[in-house]
Subunit: 87 residues, 4 copies
């Protein structure tokens, strides 16, 4: 991972971990399940945005380097990632 992406991802991870601790607190306090669910959806969306940043860094660095080296394995990895991302 390039330095800019790594720094951005670490900041996002710290935020997501804080958000998840907030969810834990809501559950402990017995808050309404619908309100908890709305927060876990928001956590998932934050993870997806972080993934988009990582993927963009990956494309512009590892994938370009791989193709320039003639290594098409990076393309099969991308196909696999795409399918995994949608489960």
């Amino acid at each position: 991972m390039d330095d800019a992406t790594q720094a951005d991802v670490q900041k996002r991870l710290a935020y997501i971990e804080g958000h998840l601790r907030g969810v834990s607190k809501m559950v402990e306090e017995g808050q309404y399940c619908v309100d908890v669910l709305k927060q876990t959806y928001a956590v998932r969306r934050a993870i997806e945005k972080m993934e988009a940043k990582m993927l963009s860094g990956h494309l512009h660095h590892c994938v370009v380097d791989g193709i320039e080296r003639g290594d098409t394995g990076v393309l099969d990895e991308l196909s696999e990632l795409y399918e995994l991302a949608n489960r």
Copy 2:
């Protein structure tokens, strides 16, 4: 949230927080982005499974109670949750 669901959700949340700390460590160590992404996908799937448990508890308790009280607001909440879950 009923007690059994709450206990189950708390156990899952603890696991997910641990998993996310593992992801943070991978990023710090500069591990390969594709491997990090596979882990964040797994975190999202674990969150979705936890949501399914919460939703099931919600349906069998709050929704049944709501409908028995003649409160159809719980149904509109469910529709909203469904749309939010898929973004």
Copy 3:
């Protein structure tokens, strides 16, 4: 399905089928894959909106009736649908 939902769903289905025929035409004409993919994403989103309408009708009719009859099977079906919707 109640009549209003059925009419709405049929209108949406006709639109989606037309959209999909448009995608077929794009593929036949050899249009750029990225442009085709953007259209298939739009088709999936249209299907999801139609599903949201069906689900809402289902909640307000079959689920309410089921609970009033004391049939909690409708709740397990909802849990199952939620998990299937997210795969």
Copy 4:
């Protein structure tokens, strides 16, 4: 789109269109909403599999060609596709 991908996508599209006509028939006949929803989920999954095939062909052809030409626009397109695919 390369010829093999195009042929595969056309076959899949024909199948998906048939599946969707089956859904229309179910709605017309007034079949149970839960059964209709399970079929529309299956249609979406079939579309996603077709997208995976298109994306794979796109990666191995257009993306490789683009990078070899020094055109990084193909990478931004991929990032955009990834975000659109997850909405």
